[in-house]
Symmetry: C2
Subunit: 340 residues, 2 copies
Amino acid sequence: MRRKITLKHIARELDVSISTVSKALKGSSEISEDTKDKVQAFAKLYNYKPNNIAVSLKNKRTKNIGVIIPDIVHHFFTTVFRGIEHYANQRGYNVIVCVSDESFDREVVNMEMLANGSIDGFIMALAGETQLKKDFRHLREVMDQGMPLVLFDRVTDEIACDKVVLNDEQISYEATMSLINEGRKRIALLTTDSFFSVSNAREQGYKRALRESNITVDENHILRLPYNKEIDGVGSFLKKNNINAVLTVNEIFGVHCLSAAQGIGLNIPTDLSVIGFTDGILSKYSVPKLTTVAQHGDKMGALAAKLLIEKIENDFNEEDEVFTTEVIQATIIRRKSTIN
Amino acid sequence: MRRKITLKHIARELDVSISTVSKALKGSSEISEDTKDKVQAFAKLYNYKPNNIAVSLKNKRTKNIGVIIPDIVHHFFTTVFRGIEHYANQRGYNVIVCVSDESFDREVVNMEMLANGSIDGFIMALAGETQLKKDFRHLREVMDQGMPLVLFDRVTDEIACDKVVLNDEQISYEATMSLINEGRKRIALLTTDSFFSVSNAREQGYKRALRESNITVDENHILRLPYNKEIDGVGSFLKKNNINAVLTVNEIFGVHCLSAAQGIGLNIPTDLSVIGFTDGILSKYSVPKLTTVAQHGDKMGALAAKLLIEKIENDFNEEDEVFTTEVIQATIIRRKSTIN
């Protein structure tokens, strides 16, 4: 059989990005006529079909589930993976993981590779870059072929599929409220860029708690830190803004904040309370131990696997297909970085 | 095409372990005649061929590399993965990961699944249970089909293939020597069960340093802790044996030791020095910051990927095939849990 050609092959051959190829094939006005002509000619020559990535799936069960996560060195995603694996193995499925490294292109490449007959369905959290670009065609292509897809944690309203999310806005509201109930008024948020769906939801919950408590939302109290890079400037940020409580959207920011605060002589929790998202291993060994928002990644993974396997094993007519969004309830684990 | 039958199918059908099926097919005397008869009859009926797992590989390049790691919630393995991925992506290869969860059966199942046409070669670290059982037939089967295999970190002398390892014995010797040079004499080793090849090598290095320094090796000073389970009893162990320095074979044992020692009133590093293997994120945020053995997982991964891709892209005659073992040089990162 002749080897199938993918978006990636075309991109490599013409030295353009996968995203450019995808847009050129759809005739997007963002792409120059010259590039569009080249891409389309190449695609025609090699008989590229956008729908070729999931071949006759219904007839060929592999008993494999494909998981795409944005980052492998990340406690939350690895615990979700363990939840998926545990449930899937019990049901007789194997699990294959690919990592997008927060890159749109790698997400597309991994998805094409796995969809090419290796797996029965996908469980994935979107790459940061995909959430920034809002380009979800690779997801639609896979679903159009009847390949079930479950999104978890980093999801999008633009794709109709089963989803498992955390009650991010609400638990962020509750965590902020618990800081306010300690008598804190100068509450900071340490977060990432707001195109991450979960960071955005957490920011909304933080702001709602402040507003409902008649505390003015001060954008200067929101510090956006780079993700997966060296963190710097937290101590001076705390000092300059006279901050007395902090909510952080992940565990590393949380323990980094503990360390930076103690570095400028603040006592925790007397002078500063800290709550961090992700109840991982760092929180248990930090000094003091960090109060955290437990996201129950294992539950999220098991539920995502359950939803996916139901879709794989039941043949729905497309018209009858119903998608659900399950919400995992986060909980606050109280340790020594807060007063209450 | 009729679905291929695997060891796993036979094991599930007859309700025995994969290892039993494998042994029964080879006529092993460990297995009862009755079970052997059943397994062999079943295998014959369904036309099982041990050699069917890697079909005509040489004619069918996938540009995918399969990685099997024992644990996904583990800093060292995830950094090796990142090293593999970074190098492989540059060379135009995708990477698929499966996790054995330290289980022999899952390792076999994952290997069968990936070898079934999805990938061009394997990079793997052996599951704990595989090292305990010393059953490597699944590796041999894959290699017999001409599928290249690179082992890293957790390796075995029983399989001739390319390997990338750490100088575990030597760096453990050097770390122990540096504790001795601080004037410590009551030096403990916090380790896992000794069937882990790396733990065994680290134990040998620890013992060599003691012997060369005329310090009697006291087996009571070696504490074997469960892996991936709750850790308990470290404080009382330190107290009872009047320990004043500790080498730990991983980072979690290291930070746990810091915490347990401070819990019984020991000052670090005045009363107790600690060095831990794995230079991960825990060490940077522990109090005090932990002196560690950096294993350079990224380098190990990149080198493993390089060796594998060379094998994939060059057609060797079997007689000409040469295997190498590359040794990564670990380094000691000095922080605040040691005097020097």
